[in-house]
């Protein structure tokens, strides 16, 4: 059933946020520490476990994958409620940080890839893992 997937996602989400809050309290900060990241790790572990024990039917997967596919639309909605008017006053910061970050990363990518011994190996088959996220995303 599709609700199993969504419920699994919800459980991982809540548990991750809970652990993040707990971690924050342990570390003496009043903030959530890495809750979303912990939730992601939990979901990956749950998925692995269920796959290995043959307990992951397609419908259950779809209950999670739907929300994964909704990721970009949700981010669009998030963008639509930002305080743009205040943000635009700091315009050069955004552009300069982005340009500098990309430039530094590009240099490091070029450096690492130049160290790779070029062997004529072809990329082995890999598929898109979410059938609900079409190739355009």
């Amino acid at each position: 059933m599709i609700i199993y997937g969504t419920a699994l996602l919800a459980a991982c989400h809540l548990l991750g946020i809970f652990i993040g809050d707990l971690l924050g309290q342990l570390l003496g900060v009043k903030t959530n520490v890495g809750g979303v990241g912990i939730a992601m790790l939990l979901l990956m572990a749950a998925r692995l476990y269920m796959l290995q024990h043959n307990k992951l039917p397609k419908l259950t997967e779809l209950g999670v994958e739907y929300w994964g596919a909704m990721y970009i639309p949700v981010v669009v909605a998030m963008a639509a409620q930002q305080d743009m008017v205040s943000a635009l006053r700091g315009g050069p910061v955004a552009v300069l940080s982005a340009v500098a970050a990309v430039a530094v990363c590009a240099a490091v990518i070029a450096l690492i890839n130049r160290a790779e011994a070029l062997s004529p190996e072809s990329p082995d088959a890999a598929q898109l893992h979410n059938p609900l996220v079409a190739a355009q995303e």
Partner: protein, 254 residues
């Protein structure tokens, strides 16, 4: 007639938000296809439209929640709010194949760490240079230089102000567009040829939409390799941003 339609939209805020965002994404897809010939990713254009609408909403209402401050678009506040946003982000973890990721080996991990730490340092340093000298703002803007997801997630976790959050998203957005447009142009310089190089690229270039669109425009075969690492990227950033990187920044600037 129009009154009844407006009432229906008002009373069904979240449903209205789905329709509005669907329309934005559709429009963005068309612009991407016909005006930029697929060069600029549809999702990036959709987010730009979202930010433009937020600006318009902000100037109309004088509030701090962009379009969501207009009663007709109140549902946008729920759809793009912290709850559903984090829910969707966690869901993307399902697309990561740990076995495939393990094949990337050490170099993938190194690229991931560098791809999180380097943009963070650059972003935070520039934020500091422009007078955002408190640890929360520096961390949020630095995290925004990682990806436009890591930025707001980090900012929300450590309590950044809305304008710093928007600045952080804007930083990530500019970065995503740069990666999308710049990748095919710089593919030779980046030595983007093999799966391994695509994984290094995915780890260091960061943003998922930037990486997938940039690689698609370069070599379609490389897309899953780069995107795979980039998927980890957001998770790693969300894990490190509000924790390790925030503490390190706090220790440095107090």
């Amino acid at each position: 007639m129009l009154d009844i339609l407006e009432k229906a939209a008002l009373h069904n805020g979240l449903v209205t938000a789905f329709a509005v965002v669907g329309l934005i994404v559709l429009l963005a897809g068309q612009i991407s296809k016909h005006l930029t010939f697929g060069r600029v990713h549809g999702s990036a254009i959709a987010i730009v439209i979202g930010l433009a609408l937020a600006y318009w909403g902000g100037t109309q209402t004088g509030g701090h929640k962009g379009l969501a401050d207009m009663s007709l678009f109140g549902g946008i506040g729920l759809m793009g709010g912290a709850m559903l946003r984090d829910f969707a982000i966690v869901a993307t973890a399902f697309e990561v194949q740990p076995l495939e990721a393990r094949k990337a080996g050490l170099i993938g991990v190194v690229a991931l760490l560098l791809g999180t730490v380097l943009p963070f340092i650059v972003g935070a340093a520039i934020a500091w240079g422009f007078g955002y000298s408190d640890a929360v703002s520096m961390t949020t803007i630095g995290a925004g230089a990682v990806t436009y997801i890591v930025g707001p997630v980090t900012g929300a976790a450590i309590g950044a102000s809305p304008d710093v959050m928007a600045l952080s998203i804007a930083t990530g957005l500019v970065k995503a567009i740069l990666v999308m447009v710049g990748t095919p142009v710089a593919a030779r310089f980046l030595r983007l040829k093999t799966p391994r190089s695509a994984m290094v690229f995915g780890g260091l270039a960061g943003t998922v939409s930037g990486v997938s669109a940039g690689l698609a425009a370069t070599d379609r075969k490389l897309v899953p390799y780069g995107a795979l690492v980039a998927t980890f990227h957001t998770g790693l950033g969300c894990l490190l941003g509000p924790s390790l990187l925030f503490f390190a920044t706090k220790a440095l600037v107090g």
